[in-house]
């Protein structure tokens, strides 16, 4: 019963989230050049490539556990096998070959690693001092030229806390929301490295952070410049998209016909990437009416909003979001801290799920990211209290496959499917309980946290030799 309900719900959500690479079905844009002298001679689309390499792991079979597969499936008294960094199999009767490390998970749960689609770890790291505050290039409302990855400080102690307390294995680092066009996001594996590139999720699409509402109009209105209103927000957005469309036309002509290359504009590179469906729009937006305006603007210029972030009023337009294949990434119970969060309800995720829209949890917070499983548990409890019976397996989609789909990495991670990255959490109980914590966390099959082994716990450079030393004291 539980399982069949969950699987049906999973199919709905997979459709809603859309596996289309972020490109709208009705895009009016020209396809990228397939031939011609300019093709490939323009500019690199990956100038800061990932150098992430999975750490070595041992073939591992976790048995006797409740498995939530991240796509809505559940296996009781199940087992999961992973090897060489990939999920191999899961089921109720898996035998261990020779050389496989067997972990008896009696009474425990196994899930895919948590994916946080909205984090500022690294660009607003701990300690929160001005010298490390690198999340908002708040000098112009349009800073599509900046890339969050150039702010990410890989020594942020928050990465380690998100791993060991939250079971977070993948996270999207976004620029802040001061600007209409905040800049590019970067997707990271939650594995410490000496460089940002060493954490960078290989082969993941970029995102573009956009923002509507109070923040841009407040930041720039207070300086006596556009935008100072919501209509100003949209006006600057549209003007910018119009420029981007022109830039795209010039480059496509050059790539097709050759001749003198057009002038490079780093900001426009990113916006062209959006119009080409190569970069996904991740749009900070709270109010229902503003999300509707943004979705119309996206149609006007031929792009697609992958997800609205925060989206506290998403529940009011769940049907509209579903019709537009646009996801909502939300909190469980934040409210009232600003005017546009005034109408938040704890049933936001419940109503979105009930209406068949694509929904997920997000943190936007260095503390909240340590407890996203608990945030989902709250949202699920609100759904059940309202009479909508969301199963544990369905609710786990809000932490894994749905963010993976919105990020364009669902073919690589986000569920326990054979062939996908072995990003796995063994919880020491039911992860919908406040009394449960991660016991072991694997990323690409490498054991990077073990509650019983103090050596399997990261301590960032910043904390080494400090009295805290990574909360391992």
């Amino acid at each position: 019963m539980i399982r069949s309900f969950a699987m049906a719900a999973a199919c709905v959500a997979l459709t809603a989230c859309g596996g289309t690479g972020g490109k709208p079905a009705t895009a009016s844009s020209t396809p990228p050049a397939q031939k011609g002298p300019g093709l490939g001679k323009g500019y690199s689309h990956d100038p800061y490539p990932s150098t992430y390499r999975p750490y070595p792991g041992v073939p591992t079979l976790v048995t006797n556990v409740t498995i939530l597969d991240g796509e809505g499936g559940r296996i009781d008294r199940g087992a999961v096998l992973f090897r060489d960094g990939k999920i191999v199999a899961l089921g109720q009767n898996l035998a261990a070959d020779a050389g496989v490390t067997v972990i008896d998970g009696q009474g425990k749960y196994v899930t895919p690693g948590v994916i946080d689609i909205h984090s500022h770890l690294g660009d607003y790291p701990s300690p929160g001092v001005d010298a490390l505050s690198d999340g908002n290039e708040a000098t112009s409302p349009v800073t599509a030229d900046v890339w969050a990855e150039h702010s990410v400080w890989p020594q942020d102690p928050g990465f380690g806390r998100a791993l060991v307390n939250g079971g977070v294995t993948t996270l999207q680092i976004l620029p802040g929301s001061a600007n209409l066009f905040g800049g590019r996001s970067v997707l990271l594996k939650n594995v410490y490295a000496r460089t940002m590139q060493g954490m960078k999720f290989p082969g993941a699409p970029y995102g573009l952070k956009m923002a509507c509402g109070e923040n841009p109009k407040r930041v720039y209105g207070s300086r006596g410049r556009e935008p100072s209103t919501r209509m100003g927000n949209i006006a600057v957005d549209r003007q910018t998209w119009a420029r981007a469309a022109e830039y795209k036309r010039r480059w496509e002509k050059y790539e097709r016909d050759g001749g003198e290359p057009p002038s490079r504009d780093i900001a426009m590179d990113t916006l062209r990437g959006v119009l080409d469906g190569e970069i996904r729009v991740q749009n900070h937006c709270y109010r229902a009416d503003e999300m509707a305006n943004v979705m119309d603007m996206a149609k006007e210029f031929g792009y697609h909003v992958s997800a609205f972030h925060h989206a506290v009023e998403a529940y009011k337009i769940a049907d509209l979001l579903k019709a537009n294949n646009t996801c909502a990434a939300v909190w469980a119970d934040w409210y009232g801290f600003k005017m546009e969060s005034y109408d938040a309800v704890p049933e936001n995720l419940a109503i979105l799920e009930k209406e068949g829209a694509c929904a997920m949890i997000h943190s936007d917070d260095a503390n909240g990211i340590q407890r996203l499983n608990q945030e989902v548990a709250k949202a699920r409890a609100s759904a059940i209290r309202g009479g909508f019976d969301v199963s544990e397996a369905t609710a786990w989609k809000w932490l894994s496959i749905n963010p993976a789909l919105a990020l364009g990495i669902a073919d690589k991670t986000g569920s326990l499917k054979p062939g996908k990255m072995a990003d796995v959490v063994l919880w020491n109980g039911n992860p919908f309980s406040v009394y449960t914590r991660p016991e072991m966390v694997w990323v690409d099959g490498a054991l990077l946290y073990d509650a019983k082994d103090p050596k399997r716990r990261p301590v960032s450079d910043f904390e080494l030799g400090q009295p805290g030393e990574g909360d391992v004291k």
Binding site: N165, K316, N367, V434, P467
Partner: protein
């Protein structure tokens, strides 16, 4: 700094009014007293005249008292939120609705949250529906002074008489934020504190002579009056402090100031000097889950802080400073549950369930010296009683009935109304505006 001898008394309008106290008995309860003792199965709590008269197993219900059968559910004291700004802020980002701080006021220690408390602010109802029945409400300081002003203890009843204990304490900032506010350093904060205490003592000795002081006097008369209550030990001084060395400075200050009732707030690094805090007999209202080096005064942050403080013998309750404290005191039960979770993490120090619940009920009340009035279901305490639909520290558990001063309270809010309106998002025969 000193501008005018404006009468601070005007700000101290008493809003206290007699409660519409009621008698109620709740039987067949999994009864949690809140003082750290284990739940009692088949328990009864009797409230008369708004106060607990008996609680435990085998307690008889007096004739004529309304009785509620809890059906074996958890019955607990309401959550006593140890540090909040509940009721003085409607929307943080809308300045005119935010009475936590007064950046342009000539006063500081005199500022009294009492007239700002609005029992109809939406966070009050939202927190009540989640089981919070009492809250310590503190003002926030502003640049220019370490002193924030006088805080209160409020209830979350649905009437307009929320302030149970006006001017219950003075709140001040020390450490990084206190040092910046005082002029740029911790020594500046300590100098301000010592001078303020000295002037407050002058005021206490002879209020009439206070107007004719020399030109080096810094304190307004109203501020001096408020701080006189602190130096005389009439009200506690709550101090936000995080760094271990800063805590030791405050403990030394307490030794130098006979009668000072010091309470530490935050105390992220408290566990590293837990024995000193315990020896000084200073209670702590701690932030339970701070585990990040969010600042240079919180480098030793760990979720084991409260557990280790308690093990060392410190009286410690949970509060929420710099943690959405105008709206999210309701998260304290989740925080307390997380401290129970720590007991299963090797190397960590958590709280058992009973101690965890006491950390959001009796302990913060005791830390403020009000354990005889609030925070537990021991005889004589206020009749704040909650019947829960599950383990109150577990995610998703909610009150099914809630009494404050023995009076049953509504559990609805703007949020429940919006949920009901939009449970099905599409418009029906009429616009949503007609659906209510």
């Amino acid at each position: 700094m000193r501008k005018t001898l404006f009468l601070a008394a005007a700000a101290c309008v008493a809003l206290a009014a007699p409660a519409m106290a009621q008698d109620v008995a709740i039987t067949n309860a999994k009864l949690v007293i809140g003082d750290g003792s284990a739940p009692v199965e088949g328990g009864t709590v009797v409230v008369r005249g708004g106060k607990v008269v008996a609680a435990g197993r085998g307690v008889a219900v007096p004739a004529g008292v309304q009785t509620v059968d809890a059906g074996g559910r958890y019955v607990t004291p309401g959550i006593f939120a140890g540090f909040t700004r509940l009721g003085i802020v409607e929307v943080d980002g809308v300045a005119v609705t935010n009475d936590a701080a007064a950046g342009s006021s000539p006063f500081n220690a005199a500022l009294d949250v009492t007239p700002a408390v609005n029992p109809r602010s939406t966070p009050v109802a939202i927190n009540r529906a989640d089981g919070v029945t009492r809250a310590v409400v503190a003002p926030d300081n502003s640049k220019g002074s370490i002193f924030a002003g006088q805080g209160a203890v409020i209830d979350t009843r649905s009437d307009l008489h929320a302030v149970a204990r006006p001017r219950a304490f003075q709140f001040m900032e020390y450490g990084e934020s206190g040092g910046r506010a005082a002029g740029g350093s911790r020594p500046a904060a300590i100098a301000m504190l010592r001078n303020a205490f000295a002037e407050a003592r002058d005021y206490a000795r002879n209020p009439a002579s206070f107007a004719g002081r020399g030109k080096d006097a810094l304190l307004t008369r109203a501020d001096a009056e408020a701080l006189a209550a602190v130096v005389q030990g009439k009200v506690p001084l709550l101090v936000h402090v995080e760094r271990a060395s800063d805590i030791l400075v405050l403990l030394q200050l307490k030794r130098e100031t006979p009668g000072l009732k010091l309470v530490l707030v935050g105390a992220t690094e408290g566990w590293t000097v837990a024995k000193d805090i315990a020896a000084a007999g200073v209670p702590v209202i701690a932030s339970p889950l701070n585990d990040l080096p969010a600042s240079f005064e919180q480098l030793a942050a760990t979720q084991s802080n409260i557990g280790r403080l308690r093990t060392a013998g410190v009286l410690v309750g949970i509060g929420t400073i710099n943690d959405d404290e105008a709206r999210q005191a309701r998260l304290e039960k989740q925080y307390a549950g997380n401290l129970v979770a720590l007991t299963r993490v090797p190397g960590a120090t958590g709280l058992d369930w009973n101690a965890a619940f006491a950390a959001i009920s009796a302990k913060p009340a005791e830390a403020l010296g009000m354990g005889d009035a609030f925070g537990s279901l021991r005889t004589g305490r206020v009749g704040d009683v909650v019947v829960w639909d599950g383990d109150p520290l577990e995610i998703g558990s909610m009150p099914v009935k809630l009494f404050i001063d023995g009076v049953e309270q509504p559990l609805t809010s703007r949020q429940t109304r919006l949920r009901d309106r939009y449970w099905k998002p599409e418009e029906g025969a009429l616009p949503k505006a007609y659906q209510r």
